[in-house]
Symmetry: C2
Amino acid sequence: MDQVTKTPGWQDEIVVLLRSHGINPTTQRVTIGRIILSAYRHLSADQVLKAVNEDKHFVSKATVYNTLNLFAKRKLVREVFVDPSKVFYDSNTSPHYHIYNEDTGELIDLEADQLEVTGIPDLPANTVETGIDVIVRVHNRNRSVLN
Amino acid sequence: MDQVTKTPGWQDEIVVLLRSHGINPTTQRVTIGRIILSAYRHLSADQVLKAVNEDKHFVSKATVYNTLNLFAKRKLVREVFVDPSKVFYDSNTSPHYHIYNEDTGELIDLEADQLEVTGIPDLPANTVETGIDVIVRVHNRNRSVLN
DNA sequence: CTGCTTGCAAAGGCTTTGCAGAACA
DNA sequence: TGTTCTGCAAAGCCTTTGCAAGCAG
């Protein structure tokens, strides 16, 4: 995780990656790309913003949001909706599913070859499938059952 | 759908249903219950608010939100997160999944006996599964591929 | 120069909350 | 009379947007 930011050549790889997806690699975009694209991660916009500022590379909140939206539109990251209060951005773009811990907010990948979804019926007329999300929701065992 | 609100006895059934889930059946709660519990429906809080006011039963926005949260906590409805901008409340509480049309916002039930999820690996230590969400995302065919 | 980017601050949309008045037992 | 509930308005969060200044080619 911290190894990544120190590895020489990573910045160039990010630059190439951004260009190959039609994105002009500005300083801010490369900084954000290094945070989220250099390993499989699940981060909210706020977590990206914090991570960016920890590394003393200052990027504004607006740019973080705009950049993550751009990355999503260009399929560099996938938006994951598990919690109504915030979007997670997932840099693993291969087919896979998730385990979501509702207590900790932690999101874990389930590769598609482990888990299978069968029996999907016909889709409504004139519609095309764009993807299947599977979320296995869990909570910590040592939790009160009461509300 | 409109038949429901005219059927004699429905209000009493809603009252019984609320009581059986530990909910004090106030006028507003029964009104909201008749909107969302009398048939399988997927509605956002805003849609419930609109439906309530169409029928000339005025319930405030705060009460709609509070009541839907209460229904969810008492398992009368299930919260569905498919769109980061709003929560859907689903009155079908039996095990099932969803097809979500990203163009229309329409949500369609997929009964659990049609669709099967297999190969769920071990959960993280000390966690308990609370449910599995499956969302088949679709969009309308006649849509531009470009952004 | 000209167009794309950034960043601040303001605006927006959905949801929650504080609190006073109302309803109910 | 005490408790629960409602509803208004305000506040809170996350996210988007307007716009002026900055940067690149």
